[in-house]
């Protein structure tokens, strides 16, 4: 039984929705523009009730589509306001044009993504295909395993986004339904401490500063486009060091220490490992526990930071393994899964590399069991295992 830390509130039982909404309440952003979509909608229901009761000072803009949600967020953030939103799946797909623009305009908009499968066919359950829309967009992406991480990452995301060396949108991904709609124990930090942690937002070129007019979102010909894009490379490359700094401060604030870009679980001396993002990490831990109890040297790399991809750190952690199974909860049709592609590229330069296998799982909310994952850990021990894509729990 954990003891509440001084300055921290007592433990609460919250759904993923509530964890996000609570973080948003404490952040108390200036503007939120959002549109409903399963499984995000309830986040906004909670937040809207905070607005209605004056628990936040936020201007909540209930727009008429996600494209307009992101567009209004861009307008608000460029104006100089602290801005947030939340969405999923088709909503995110509709927003994506503007997400690229927000990143290019260097607007620190924090977004909760309640990961849900992209149509078609239409499906409201969890997978990571929507998150993959952001891969090339220049946004920062974190993946939460549970409600606690969701809450913690929402707070850290704001600090990362607004850091003067970053100034980019940040996505906090939480698995739709699995995390959003289930309740878990969350230790919350008190309002005053959060307020101090997040500080004041200091916009760089606020439109509302009418004495210093700027033109934002100009038309760039070939003479300039390349250079302006190159600036974004620097911005996202600054994220890892900024994140480490923020984690340090967060540890002092909360007593919860996140170190680096992934959580290694019995990884160090493991010969065989799984790599996964999101809530399935919980199931993976159960599988690892079971096999470790039987004396097998297996482990898990639970990735938190997907973009920018921490390839050096991941390569360092995996290079000495015998074999690794990368679990992808999204297809990159026409190639290996998105996470696999990152891992294999990261390991390319290593002298010693593990045998690498790709397993697609959980599409459209398909459940994955600990037994299926112990099977995977056994399968990859066989050297003759096919390098072609594997599918967990698919009826073939």
């Amino acid at each position: 039984m954990a003891v509440a830390k001084p300055g921290a509130r007592k433990l609460e039982v919250l759904t993923g929705h509530q964890a996000v909404a609570e973080a948003m309440r404490q952040i108390n952003p200036d503007v939120v523009a959002a549109y409903p979509i399963t499984p995000q909608s309830e986040i906004m229901h909670y937040f809207a009730s905070y607005v209605a009761d004056g628990k936040v000072d936020t201007e909540l803009v209930t727009v008429e589509s996600e494209h307009s949600a992101m567009s209004a967020c861009v307008g608000a953030a460029a104006a100089g306001a602290r801005t947030m939103t939340a969405t999923a799946s088709q909503g995110l797909a509709l927003m994506i044009e503007v997400v690229y623009i927000a990143a290019a305009m260097r607007l620190p908009i924090v977004m909760a993504i309640a990961n849900r499968a992209l149509s078609g066919p239409i499906n409201i359950h969890c997978d990571h295909s929507d998150a993959m829309l952001g891969r090339d967009a220049g946004v920062v992406q974190l993946f939460a395993e549970n409600a606690q991480e969701t809450y913690d990452f929402m707070l850290m995301a704001l600090r990362v986004a607004e850091h003067p060396d970053v100034l980019l949108p940040v996505w906090v991904n939480l698995d739709g339904f699995t995390l959003t709609h289930t309740a878990d124990v969350v230790e919350l930090i008190d309002d005053a401490a959060v307020k101090e942690f997040i500080g004041e937002y200091k916009p760089r070129y606020p439109l509302l500063d009418v004495d210093h007019p700027t033109t934002q979102g100009p038309f760039a010909l070939p003479e300039y486009y390349f250079e302006l894009k190159r600036q974004q490379v620097d911005a996202i490359s600054n994220v890892p060091s900024v994140l480490l700094q923020v984690q340090e401060e967060f540890a002092a604030l909360s007593g919860r220490r996140y170190e680096g870009f992934f959580e290694p679980y019995y990884l160090d001396d493991a010969d065989y490992a799984l790599v996964v993002m999101g809530s399935t990490a919980g199931t993976a831990k159960a599988a690892v526990d079971e096999l470790r109890a039987q004396g097998e040297k297996v482990g898990l790399l639970k990735l938190w930071l997907f973009r920018p991809f921490p390839r050096r750190e991941v390569a360092e952690a995996l290079k000495g393994k015998e074999a690794v199974a990368v679990l992808d909860r999204a297809l990159s049709l026409g190639s290996y899964g998105p996470l696999y592609l990152e891992i294999s590229s990261a390991l390319y330069e290593c002298e010693e590399r593990p045998r690498l296998y790709n397993y697609t799982y959980g599409l459209g909310g398909r459940d994955t069991t600990a037994e299926q994952l112990t099977d995977v850990l056994h399968q990859i021990q066989g050297e003759k295992l096919s390098r072609e894509m594997h599918y967990i729990g698919l009826r073939e």
């Binding site: 290019a104 305009m105 260097r106 607007l107 100034l167 760089r204 070129y205 210093h212 007019p213 700027t214 033109t215 934002q216 979102g217 100009p218 760039a220 003479e223 300039y224 390349f226 250079e227 302006l228 190159r230 600036q231």
Partner: protein, 109 residues
């Protein structure tokens, strides 16, 4: 064209600060014709000023002064608009006094 800057020298995010000393493009080199003014005929209605797409009609104390040839593209709207025929279009190569003001009696035929 201003000297092309490196990516580190450009303001972040494609923002253009609208400072007074920022580079400007002198679009006056677009034109084939330019307007000239016969001040004696001008009644300061300022219709030319309202309708100029280039802000190339210069006013001072809300009186018509002449033309900003750095920016005038020679579209001819001012000449067409002027109710007293105080503006005429001439060949761009023709030499004209500063601001295009042709003081003296009416216009030449």
């Amino acid at each position: 064209m201003p000297e092309l800057k490196t990516y580190k020298e450009l303001p972040l995010g494609g923002v253009i600060p609208a400072t007074a000393d920022r580079p400007r493009k002198k679009t006056g080199d677009w034109r084939d014709e330019k307007p000239v003014l016969y001040p004696e005929k001008c009644v300061n209605c300022l219709l030319c000023w309202v309708r100029c797409p280039e802000t190339a009609i210069l006013t001072e104390d809300q009186q018509m002064r002449g033309f900003d040839y750095d920016y005038c593209k020679g579209c001819g709207i001012c000449a067409q608009t002027c109710p007293t025929e105080a503006i005429r279009m001439v060949d761009d190569a023709e030499e004209v006094p500063p601001l295009g003001r042709i003081e003296g009696e009416g216009r030449q035929e």
